[in-house]
Subunit: 322 residues, 2 copies
């Protein structure tokens, strides 16, 4: 058990993984998110390794490293360290930080959150866990806020804590039950849409009737999940608030959504701010749903790939602590 | 077992009771309602008696009968019969109808709904139950729609079915769990506020941020009730959507609300469209909460009375069938 605080153990290394996540889960614009784990193939997420050092350093690697901001201080792994330090109230020791960027940037898969939670989880373990989970979540929200203009915890909360999470007004993130038999089919088209662009498409005001209907729909989904009411769940797996404004930004969206439903999905909309989309489907239907969505993207002239995922109940985790 | 359909048994009588209810329960504007039952003293609600007759008749009695529309065809008991007949698809026999109006009109206690559900329940029993509960709820929504300009089921659903009910977009009403130890303290000031007036105070649009916060709050309340999370429940027992616009219509509201919270209530806002208010409090605190609220009304120069209620799990019920 070393004391990383003092930076005296240059050889100590901790590596953490932050999973992909779906923000804005259907009815839950800005407040409902899901950490996801592909059922087959390589893990989906980012890794951050923290090691002791004489002089601080930062390395960025992996398939999407070239898409990150060039200035290291703009990197979310370092912003996470800054937030950690601020809440800790004392300086961090010199650190050798290495980010392996496994998630595409601007994809709707919670790329920012994966980096942030992997960095915080690694840092906390490296420093012998000075923070509880709620403090890590606070730090994560602070670090992510820089990325999209405001702190929306619907990606960082599940990426950090795992599961399907409803974020409350005080920043607590509550785990909702979710049927084990259901899959999240995630389809990534070769398109880009920044969160900033997607946010700009949202109108500043909505009708009172829509506000009531949106709340009814989200509350209905939460009730359906607790009560195991499949009929209500299927009815409520939709986004009344953001989707109508964001769908026009992505040519092909409606066709892909229709293909998913046609193939048996319970619901289908953007993952986070898009352009990735997710469908909720039974294990039996998941492959067909994914194939139909990819085929609909092809018809729209857009290449796409799908992965069948389950909920990642674990969230960010230490993979190596040596 | 008589066949009321044929109107041949002039002596047969069925009497049903429809309980008081709280609409717009805190976070649940337009979609969340609670049927309530005072713990002591006289029942709170309306009664409708249906009997066979050679010629149809309608009698209205009770302490608040004089406040009802003079034209019988405007009475909600008769509108309920009309909705029943429309959904049944055949004419009703001649009926002797008697409404005992036990709830004050325009009070925020679900007076319209109590009449409607009592009439429907009595009528259904009198006709040997041609309708299931969902059909009765459909008829109730139709009958109530005449009273407030649109069908909002948050009063009729609990008044008919009992309990705390979340109404979904298709008009199904889902029972939510609610701690047995909690009371609804209902305070009725000597003021009037029509539902129409209270609705007019609502703006046609709200900010996107408020729409998100309102949905988060309602979903949080639903989760808290299922998960037994008292801290979250207390945080979510508030109305972000309607209260800010309706409070200014009722001088004294803020002071009474503050008095309830000060006396230990978990939350306090309008019952339905007001002016009645309800507070949620533990059985231990309920009396003190009620007394504090009445005292705050007195300070505002308004007479008021309170009753401590529990959830009425039963809803509308047959009291006599002979």
């Amino acid at each position: 058990m070393g004391s990383g605080h003092l930076g005296g153990e240059a050889l100590r290394r901790v590596r953490a993984f932050g999973p992909a996540s779906i923000g804005n889960v259907a009815a839950g614009f800005d407040v409902l998110g899901a950490a996801i784990r592909p059922l087959t193939g390589a893990p989906w997420g980012d890794w951050v390794e923290v090691g002791g050092a004489e002089v601080s350093s930062f390395v960025c690697e992996g398939p999407f490293a070239h898409r990150l901001p060039l200035a290291p201080e703009d990197n979310l792994a370092l912003k996470a360290c800054g937030a950690f330090q601020r809440i800790l109230g004392s300086s961090l020791p010199p650190l050798a930080l290495r980010l392996h960027k496994g998630l595409p940037v601007g994809s709707g898969l919670g790329s920012s959150s994966a980096t942030v939670v992997a960095a915080l989880k690694a840092l906390n373990a490296f420093l012998d866990n000075p923070f509880r989970e709620d403090q890590l979540l606070e730090a994560a929200g602070e670090a992510e806020g820089h990325g999209c203009g405001a702190a929306h915890l619907d990606n960082v909360a599940p990426a950090l804590l795992g599961g399907l999470r409803l974020v409350d007004a005080t920043g607590r993130a509550h785990a909702l039950p979710f049927p084990e038999a259901l899959r999240f089919v995630v389809v990534s088209p070769r398109l880009e849409l920044t969160t900033r662009e997607a946010r700009r498409a949202m109108p500043p005001e909505v009708s009172m009737g829509l506000a009531v209907a949106h709340a009814q729909n989200l509350a209905g989904l939460v009730h359906a999940l607790h009560a195991g009411d499949g009929e209500l769940r299927r009815a409520c797996l939709r986004d009344l608030l953001a989707e109508p404004h964001r769908a026009p930004l992505v040519a092909g969206f409606r066709e892909v959504q229709a293909a998913a439903i046609e193939a048996g999905a319970e619901g289908c909309t953007f993952s986070g701010a898009g352009p990735a989309m997710f469908a909720v489907a039974t294990a039996d239907a998941a492959q067909a749903v994914g194939a139909s969505m990819v085929s609909a993207w092809a018809n729209a002239g857009v290449g796409a790939a799908f992965r069948c995922c389950e909920l990642d109940h674990q969230g960010a985790r230490i993979e190596e602590n040596a």
